[in-house]
């Protein structure tokens, strides 16, 4: 079993008297991706801030790499990387200088800067001022900076928000590679497709409460109460049928008649589960 690197234990957070997080429990092991999935304002960023010691919980305990996040000092940041929704890059420095700055702070070799720049596909742009990068390139630079020191835990707050699909795909590939290297990744997103594709476990977060927690497949199967099938017949007609005795006979007959062109089962998606549980859409 992989070593646990993050644990949220009965975490609650209030801003003034407004509850933002209510009794959160979750954990993340090395080599895994945990997705916090929820709409804007659900408490995803607050959870990251608590885990990284930027905010203190009102009650409960958050542990990162075995240390209570309320008692961490700056040395913990040598083992974690954070990608926030706002880039925080030095626009007047070049791509290389941005990474070199953090390499000096984190005592990382220049060879590693070369390696990371190749990994994120920004090596050709290394002499470009960071302020002149496109949004996708900026996000890749931010990711490069976050993984420069080979952290044990990587926090990603909406890493592909506003990116075009091909750039998002490249970032997904990188994240898979990092996970396979043993990095634990804590990902927040409101993109259910991204969560379903990327995450080993997801927590569906609504108004500060985890309404569902598990692997994407487990969650979808758990809510697959009414089994349905979508069929397209040779005639061009499409049907969505619930699994009843009558419909099974009908489908069997169509199969015998060889008139079915396509046949798919209709499991719920994370989006539909979230909608069913909260009455809210994710995006």
């Amino acid at each position: 079993m992989n070593h646990e690197v993050i644990r949220l234990s009965h975490i609650s957070k209030k801003f003034k008297d407004e509850p933002v997080l209510k009794d959160l429990n979750a954990s993340l092991a090395e080599g895994e991706i945990l997705g916090f999935l929820g709409p804007s304002g659900a408490g995803k960023t607050t959870t990251i801030k608590i885990l990284t010691g930027q905010l203190k919980p009102t009650s409960g305990d958050a542990y990162i790499l075995g240390i209570n996040s309320g008692h961490i000092d700056e040395t913990i940041y040598e083992q974690i990387g954070i990608v926030t929704d706002s880039s925080g890059i030095y626009e007047y420095l070049t791509v290389w200088q941005n990474l070199e700055y953090f390499a000096k702070i984190l005592k990382v070799s220049k060879e590693r800067i070369h390696e990371v720049l190749h990994q994120v596909g920004l090596y050709e742009h290394r002499k470009k001022p960071a302020g002149k990068l496109s949004k996708g390139q900026t996000q890749r630079l931010v990711l490069a900076r976050a993984v420069l020191h080979r952290p044990k835990v990587l926090f990603l707050d909406e890493p592909t928000s506003g990116l075009d699909p091909s750039t998002a795909l490249e970032i997904h590939k990188m994240l898979f590679q990092l996970r396979n290297e043993g990095m634990a990744i804590f990902l927040t997103t409101h993109n259910m497709e991204e969560a379903a594709k990327m995450c080993d476990h997801v927590a569906l977060l609504n108004e500060g409460v985890i309404v569902e927690y598990g692997t994407p497949n487990e969650i979808c199967l758990k809510h697959n109460k009414v089994k349905k099938y979508t069929l397209q017949l040779s005639s061009g007609k499409t049907y969505t049928l619930e699994q009843t005795d009558e419909n099974i006979k009908k489908i069997s007959q169509w199969m015998a008649d060889d008139v079915i062109e396509t046949l798919h089962s209709c499991e719920p998606t994370l989006e539909s589960v979230f909608l069913e549980m909260t009455g809210r859409e994710l995006s």
């Binding site: 990284t52 930027q54 000092d73 700056e74 040395t75 913990i76 940041y77 040598e78 974690i80 954070i82 926030t84 706002s86 880039s87 925080g88 890059i89 030095y90 626009e91 007047y92 420095l93 700055y101 953090f102 000096k104 702070i105 984190l106 005592k107 900076r145």
Partner: protein
Amino acid sequence: MTIHMNKVAAIAQVKTKAFMGKNCIIMPLFAIGFTFIMRLLYHNMDMGSDAPMEMLDAYVLSMGLVMNLSMTGVYCPCLLLAEEKEKNTLRVLMTSSVNGLEFFLGSILPVFVISVIINFLLMPISGFMITGSSLAVFSAVSILSSLTSCIIGMLLGIFAKNQVSAGTLITPVALILMLIPMFADMIDELSNVSRFLFTGILMDMVSDISKNADKIIKPESIAILIAEVVVSIVLFIFFYRKNGFEKD
């Protein structure tokens, strides 16, 4: 809180680059330009035979020094800190294993050094050269004054959310530090305040040097200068502990 010199040096290096940006570099250039123009003006004005040119040059130097301390020393650290907050780079740094003391030292060091260099550079520009033992006293006072102004700048920076609010916060402070000593000779009440300001003490000292006074600085002025460094550090620590570098 430990200090890692690699981090301080890295921050200082980037802060120096940031200082060279148009928003900050204009401040020392302004002090230099102002001193140069004032010198030209005084030299081209008919001041009468009673006004020794040396004293006028000394006045020009003291005006330039006060301007440098207020504009470079106070304005630049505050602006650079506000810029870090505005661009969210401060949060990134603070979550990259940099502690508050390292950030403070790395931020203040380049501005402090530049401010001190400009203080000395203003001597040939104003035409008033301080030599001998007076130079040693001038150096000490100039260094203490630059240090105080930089710490005040960082202190103001805690309360500045962005570069615009930094300007709003700095303006009254810079005006107090500049205008009170400048008009202290004309208004007695201002003179009483000026002798408690590091800018006022510096101006008086340069004036006394030009008059070849026996004592170019009073012991109580030295005590005030040291007290101001200490008070500004204490205030900075107090507000840093209360708010961090970001007052939400």
